[in-house]
């Protein structure tokens, strides 16, 4: 090829489009060696550094993101627990209040029932006592009055018939007075008095016959 070049040069105008074999060979060898060297020794290093850098930047960002995520989750959990606890407390309070109300109502109910029971028992006792006292009184009043009267009169009132009539008249007078006094009083007392009067009357009637 050098001969061709020299021939061309000798002619005066070498052709710039005709390649020199020596240049092709040198260029090819140089380029191939350069490619092999760079591909094996240099570019892998660059790629490794790129990867490391990418890792360092992205890795740092990913770590930060993960931490933030964790913190957010913890906060969320904490808030959830707090809300739950508040809810629970409110529920307990509500429950306690309801229970307290129920207990109070029950107690009140019980106390009222007890009170009613006691009142009723007392009423009954009073009624019974009153009836017994009235009955006893009637008997004793008769004898006492008779005795008193006989002492006053000075003679024994032998005649039972008369005696009883006197007593009855006296008692009736008393009762009439009592009725007149209790007309403005309670109906129960009046009724009880009347009832006792009628009973007494009946007893008297029975005793009389």
């Amino acid at each position: 090829m050098q001969t061709l070049a020299t021939v061309l040069a000798a002619e005066g105008a070498p052709n710039p489009l005709l390649p020199h074999v020596s240049e092709i060979i040198v260029g090819a060898v140089a380029f191939t060696l350069l490619l092999l060297f760079l591909k094996s020794k240099v570019f892998p290093v660059f790629e490794r550094v790129y990867a490391e850098r990418h890792d360092a930047i992205e890795g740092g960002m990913e770590r930060a993101k993960r931490l933030e995520e964790e913190a957010k989750q913890t906060l969320e959990q904490y808030r959830e627990q707090l809300a739950e606890a508040r809810h629970e407390a409110a529920r307990l309070r509500e429950e306690a209040r309801e229970q307290g109300a129920v207990i109070i109502a029950e107690m009140r109910e019980q106390a009222q029932a007890e009170a009613r029971r006691l009142t009723a028992a007392a009423h009954q006792q009073i009624e019974a006592d009153k009836a017994a006292a009235l009955a006893q009184l009637r008997i004793h009043v008769g004898t006492l009055a008779t005795e008193l009267a006989s002492r006053i009169v000075g003679e024994v009132l032998q005649d039972d018939e008369r005696q009883r009539a006197v007593v009855d008249r006296f008692l009736d007078g008393l009762e009439a007075e009592a009725t007149a006094a209790a007309a403005a009083g309670s109906a129960t007392v009046g009724a009880a008095g009347e009832a006792s009067t009628s009973r007494g009357g009946a007893g008297r009637g029975a005793g009389g016959s």
């Binding site: 105008a13 052709n15 710039p16 489009l17």
Partner: protein, 73 residues
């Protein structure tokens, strides 16, 4: 290869000068379009630049091939 007219240079080069008009107009059109594009959309500059340079290289190749042929023929 040779002209009869001495000292006036080479006819090849005159031919090449005429031939270079085409690529010259072409390159002008390419960069006119590029400037238009960037003026309308400045954010597209990066994309347009690559395309414009590629088009410039392709059009310029014609002129460059011309100068080679001017020396060879």
């Amino acid at each position: 290869m040779t002209g009869n007219i001495e000292n006036l240079g080479n006819l090849n080069m005159i031919g090449y000068g005429l031939a270079a008009i085409g690529p010259g107009i072409g390159i002008g059109l390419i960069f006119a379009a590029y400037i238009n594009g960037v003026a309308r959309q400045p954010e597209a500059r990066g994309v347009l630049q690559g395309i414009a340079i590629l088009g410039f290289a392709l059009a310029e190749a014609l002129a460059i091939i011309g100068i080679g042929l001017a020396f060879v023929l």
